[in-house]
């Protein structure tokens, strides 16, 4: 199963085994079919935010490996007039808190934990999740055409 690890610069607090403990990273898993509505919304928002100018040069990039970072995903969506950035972040938060991430491989990352970390960190996490599991494979299949 494909996963990626998001490491925190500062540990976060969460409940585990009856105690409050500190976690250093979250292992994220790919979304499940039951989360198709949220992933669909995020994917659509990202592709609407992609610049359309310069498409004529796309043929030169065919079959190249596409790499996109979480920061680039957030930048594109935040600067697009076609998308609603707050709605994008809200949907992203809802998705990454829906049993797709485990802190230190123990407890699920939940909305309560998400609401108690710094906003910058949460947005970075959302960007990385979307880059890794939602848009990268779609971009790769597009460039192979």
């Amino acid at each position: 199963m494909k996963t990626f690890e998001f490491k925190f610069d500062e540990p976060i607090e969460f409940s585990h085994g009856g105690e409050r403990v500190e976690g250093n990273s979250i292992t994220f898993y790919a979304p499940k079919p039951k989360q198709r509505k949220k992933t669909g919304k995020l994917k659509q928002a990202f592709f609407r935010a992609l610049p359309t100018e310069g498409n004529e040069n796309q043929s030169s990039h065919r079959n190249e490996e596409v790499e996109i970072s979480g920061a680039e995903v957030l930048f594109l969506v935040a600067h697009s007039k076609e998308t609603d950035y707050p709605d994008f972040i809200e949907t992203g938060r809802s998705l990454i808190c829906d049993q797709v991430g485990k802190i230190d491989d123990t407890e699920y990352f939940t909305t309560f934990i998400a609401d108690n970390i710094e906003l910058d960190v949460l947005e970075e996490m959302i960007g990385e999740y979307i880059a890794n599991f939602i848009v990268r494979s779609s971009l790769q299949s597009l460039t192979k055409r």
Partner: protein, 129 residues
């Protein structure tokens, strides 16, 4: 001053839906007693004692009787005392946060079935922080 009328009941990192006005807790400071010790001449000396047997916290709430919550409460019960309960409430004037570690559902809780039925849950834990 504004009365705190609403709070979030969190168990093991998950915010749980509760029936309004059903959340309550004790700080876990225990009970104390005061006895008189005679020092002669009709005078007494007060002896203060802290009853450590009662120095546990209680946190409780009533949950709606949904299949999902019925299953969740069963998991809390089988977790024995490996649960953490948090109560977080705020008004424009301030915030209340209490954490109850090593929490257990000690009683054999009742699951109500019906239109207005609820699941009252009561955790016992080490003193709140």
């Amino acid at each position: 001053m504004i009365q705190l009328t609403d709070a979030t009941f969190i168990v093991n990192n998950e915010a749980v839906p509760t029936i309004p006005n059903s959340i309550a807790f004790t700080e876990g400071l225990g009970e104390q007693s005061m006895k008189a010790a005679s020092i002669g001449g009709g005078a007494v000396e007060p002896i203060y004692a802290n009853d450590l047997e009662t120095a546990f916290s209680m946190s409780k709430a009533e949950l709606p009787s949904t299949p999902e919550l019925i299953e969740l409460v069963k998991i809390w019960k089988t977790n024995r005392n490996n649960n953490v309960v948090q109560i977080v409430g705020e008004t424009p004037e301030g915030t209340l946060t209490r954490t109850f570690a090593r929490a257990a559902l000690t009683s054999d809780y009742e699951v109500g079935i019906g239109t207005d039925a609820t699941i009252p849950v009561e955790f016992k834990s080490i003193s709140a922080v």
